[in-house]
């Protein structure tokens, strides 16, 4: 079947099998390998992308379910050559070690901060509670998101 969707601002139209999972469509059909394919069981959150504005687990969504919608992957998080403040926060606070969970973590962080610009530490931990960092680098991930919140509020370091 033919599926059309907007990914990172660009419209794509492809012939796919209905059973194709969105994560594989993004990685294999569109070559957007920033979204990672982890546990396959909607537990780890490495595959999180924004569907319209909302983070979802793309390993548990069929490609046609995203038809007509806007998908944002980590490749679309920045603004041209300029990093998104969330990316700056992860860079600044060492929010990644191996990097596998990072794309999903950053997209969920962006969603959280857009809805709640001044989150508490507990808010951040709750927001990413469906995403696993196998390096167990949660402290720095939380620190990165809180840094971004302060940065976006115009505060210094």
């Amino acid at each position: 079947m033919r599926v059309t969707m907007t990914v990172n601002g660009t419209e794509y139209s492809r012939e796919v099998e209905p059973r194709l999972l969105l994560i594989h469509f993004l990685r294999d059909d569109l070559g957007l390998t920033g979204s990672h394919w982890g546990c396959d069981t909607s537990n780890c959150g490495a595959c999180v992308v924004l569907l319209d504005e909302t983070p979802v687990k793309s390993c548990t969504m069929l490609t046609p379910m995203a038809a007509g919608r806007r998908v944002t992957t980590v490749e679309g998080l920045g603004h041209g050559a300029r990093l998104d403040p969330v990316q700056l926060g992860f860079q600044r606070c060492h929010g990644l070690q191996c990097g596998f969970c990072t794309p999903g973590m950053m997209l969920t962080a962006r969603w959280l901060l857009d809805r709640n610009p001044q989150p508490t530490e507990a808010d951040v931990r709750e927001a990413i509670s469906g995403q696993i960092c196998r390096c167990t680098g949660y402290e720095n991930i939380v620190r990165s998101v809180l840094w971004t919140a302060r940065h976006e509020a115009g505060a210094g370091d």
């Binding site: 687990k57 069929l62 469906g130």
Partner: protein
């Protein structure tokens, strides 16, 4: 690599359209809502529908509203939407208690309440919640709508009364004065299914319990209900002792099985303790003594 088997796909644009597609494809077709239960089942070949009927485009099924003395929720309501609904939390604090601990925030963004109910997992949270609240399920089929009590919705593990040509469209909760409700769950880790969980709704006249609903999940309670404990409490005065006794009765009548989430005797202990705790909190909320609305965050 886990991928579903080959399947055909149709997008339904209305309830009537979905029903027509169900009629056309027969029992090998399945309704696809959020897919967060069905797609994992398809990956494991525990479900192998030949056709999926995607209802995500039927926006009429996404609303939560007050109609008369009822709270009505469309089957396609996302878990996150129910958690954020002020009107739902205002009338039934139990809904927000439960939604806070169902799966994780990202899964809640896309998983639907109707999908969870129709999956009918014996550890599913909302099945106990709607049983406690004595909700009504609206099921549409070729002959129109029918109503089924939430307590008669499940016919067994992973089985409901929804026929192959039917679909669940709405859940209705009666709003009665003097009520309070609460839910508590014990899970091994954030986002997991419960080891055990309990929900309670009580209606008081002074210190007397005029009506009560107790829902239990994951502990082998028939129809997710602690019926004997409810019978014991109805008409009684609220005391520490009566609420405790209700917990004892609830535990006595459930039949948990030992599995990777915990041994049966521990689950029985949870049924007893959690029933007692949610009853106490529901009573406090009915009396206005414990926070339960959205503004307060609902943590008593």
């Amino acid at each position: 690599m886990q991928v579903p088997a080959q399947v055909e796909y149709e997008k339904a644009t209305s309830v009537e359209h979905a029903l027509a597609l169900l009629a056309r494809y027969g029992p090998q077709a399945r309704i696809l809502a959020g897919g967060h239960s069905l797609i994992p089942m398809m990956k494991l070949r525990l479900a192998q529908p030949e056709v999926l009927i995607d209802i995500n485009g039927i926006t009429d099924l996404c609303s939560i509203n007050l109609t008369g003395a009822q709270l009505r929720m469309g089957t396609l309501t996302r878990h996150a939407q129910l958690l954020e609904s002020a009107v739902a939390g205002e009338h039934f604090a139990i809904l927000h208690d439960a939604e806070r601990v169902i799966a994780d925030p990202v899964v809640r963004n896309w998983g639907t309440i109707g999908g969870s109910l129709c999956q009918a997992d014996p550890s599913e949270d909302l099945s106990a919640v709607f049983a406690a609240l004595k909700g009504t399920m609206i099921i549409y089929g070729p002959d129109g709508a029918r109503e089924v009590s939430a307590r008669e919705f499940h016919t067994g593990p992973y089985e409901t009364v929804v026929g192959p040509a039917e679909m669940l469209t709405e859940i209705r909760l009666p709003i009665r004065p003097g009520g309070g409700s609460a839910y508590q769950k014990v899970a091994r880790r954030a986002g997991d299914w419960p080891v055990g969980a309990a929900g309670a709704a009580v209606w008081l006249a002074g210190d007397t319990i005029t009506d009560v609903g107790i829902g239990l999940t994951a502990v082998g309670a028939t129809h997710f209900v602690a019926a004997e404990a409810e019978d014991y409490l109805r008409g009684k005065r609220v005391t520490e002792q009566t609420l405790q006794q209700a917990g004892e009765i609830a535990a006595e009548h459930c039949r948990p099985v030992s599995d990777q989430r915990g041994p049966a005797d521990y689950k029985q202990h949870l049924a007893r303790e959690l029933t007692n705790r949610v009853l106490r909190r529901a009573v406090a909320r009915a009396r206005g003594l414990a926070p339960g609305g959205v503004a307060s965050g609902g943590v008593a």
